[in-house]
């Protein structure tokens, strides 16, 4: 049986990990390769590297970094952040990335998803959606890292993206992100039960129970988190023991 996946997310700027990390047993907490390798060793199922570098020039640093990650890490990884063309993706895949995630650029130019899935296969195209539940109770798509609201419903965009060839959806609830109060179970379950592709839930994971909930009630195929792993509030081996004890199938 297929296992539910636990995915730590690392934010990268100019080739270094940003947002704090708190690990004593690695030499340099800023080195994403070292941190990623540590997660891989302790049972992470995949990694996401989110590049928040602004300038194109510094993008070269990213492809060099991707190459180093691929050399040293023996589990799959996704690279995201500012990807807007087939050429961008070509470079990252050639350097060893397994998947790429697209967000704002794909919303503004949906043909990008079709082009990428045709060129590289839908298995490597992850559509990231930042979504927020408004006072009307509906979930809307936000762009530019959550700064720009659209009038598009999350479900409508996700369905369209899957039709265009997206192979997975990485769903971040802005209402829950950073709160540690639990994942957005309703919208995650709605998407997962409607779409034919896997859904990765992101935002709000604070306790081990939250992960059980997102896999059982939220029907997520994978769960992503950042700071709770970076600050060792939850260790992946313990989390997996816990989930297995709760009847959730995980790789141990």
């Amino acid at each position: 049986m297929l296992a539910k996946r636990i995915i730590p997310c690392l934010d990268i700027k100019d080739g270094r990990t940003v947002k704090g990390v708190n690990f004593e047993n690695i030499r340099d907490a800023g080195d994403p390769v070292e941190l990623g390798a540590l997660y891989a060793k302790t049972g992470a199922d995949e990694l996401v590297f989110l590049d928040i570098t602004a300038t194109n020039e510094k993008r070269k640093t990213l492809s060099e970094l991707v190459s180093r990650i691929s050399q040293h890490i023996n589990i799959p990884f996704t690279v995201g952040g500012g990807i807007s063309s087939v050429e961008d993706v070509q470079v990252l895949l050639q350097h060893g990335a397994d998947k790429i995630s697209v967000n704002t650029a794909a919303y503004k130019n949906p043909q990008l998803i079709a082009d990428l899935s045709k060129e590289f296969g839908s298995q490597c195209v992850v559509l990231a959606i930042d979504t927020k539940q408004e006072a009307d109770g509906q979930w809307y798509v936000y762009l530019n890292g959550g700064r720009v609201k659209t009038d598009t419903l999350c479900m409508d965009w996700a369905k369209r993206a899957v039709e265009l060839g997206a192979g997975e959806i990485l769903l971040t609830s802005m209402n829950h992100d950073g709160t540690k109060q639990g994942f957005a179970l309703d919208i995650t379950a709605t998407l997962s039960e409607t779409l034919s592709v896997p859904v990765i839930a992101s935002g709000g994971g604070g306790t081990m129970q939250h992960f059980t909930d997102v896999f059982t009630k939220g029907k997520a195929d994978a769960a992503l988190a950042a700071s709770i792993f970076h600050f060792k509030e939850i260790a992946i081996p313990e989390l997996k023991e816990y989930l297995a004890g709760q009847g959730v199938r995980v790789r141990k």
């Binding site: 190459s67 040293h72 023996n74 397994d98 997975e168 039960e193 896997p198 195929d221 994978a222 790789r251």
Partner: protein
């Protein structure tokens, strides 16, 4: 030992090369017929779509070359599927090394299974030296929408929608549906085993 990875239009070849480097073996990535024929071991990787990949191989006569190889050959993911007889993916005739049909996963409504299968699943009923010292029910990383059914060439079985072949073997040819280069310690063991065959 001379190890080659067949270069063609299906990625991700670099990951396979790096994985081999991690277990201490340098591999050459080439589409040169003489170099492939002269290698001690050949790896036939692949991520992508069957008809495009087969067309590319035929144009370069790599299809005939691969099917005629006598040294140990390991097909990975799409590589394994292309070693089968035929694929439903765009109705593609393949290399016919394994007498198997590659079919699309068709989950029943309501069972919650997604296509493609993406993630870690277990391998069981392991046979041949390829899986020496690999524990039954080890987790490996899979990404695929099409599968080969179980049959006489099956040397590993995985369950998704139904039991299917997660590895195939005939003579000098081996194929794995999962990605050993992305399957942590189990994958590294399987690659190391292949290099010892």
């Amino acid at each position: 030992m001379k190890l080659v990875i067949i270069k063609y239009n299906a990625g991700n070849i670099q990951s396979v090369r790096y994985a081999l480097e991690r277990i201490g073996v340098a591999a050459e990535v080439t589409d040169n017929h003489e170099e492939i024929a002269a290698a001690d071991k050949v790896i036939f990787p692949g991520v992508g779509e069957a008809s495009t990949a087969m067309q590319y191989l035929r144009e370069r006569k790599l299809d005939v070359l691969i099917a005629g190889l006598k040294q140990p050959v390991l097909g990975i993911c799409l590589g394994m599927q292309l070693m089968c007889k035929h694929s439903e993916e765009n109705n593609t005739d393949c290399l016919n090394i394994f007498d198997e049909e590659v079919k699309l996963f068709l989950p029943k409504k309501g069972d919650g299974l997604k296509v493609p299968q993406i993630g870690w699943n277990t391998i069981r009923a392991l046979q041949t030296p390829l899986f020496e010292s690999v524990p039954e029910n080890s987790y490996c990383y899979f990404v695929h929408g099409y599968y080969a059914a179980t049959g006489e060439h099956t040397i590993a079985t995985t369950d998704y929608v139904q039991p299917y072949s997660s590895a195939l073997h005939r003579d000098n040819f081996y194929g794995v549906q999962f990605h050993p280069e992305k399957s942590a310690e189990a994958g590294e063991k399987i690659l190391a085993n292949f290099l010892k065959i």
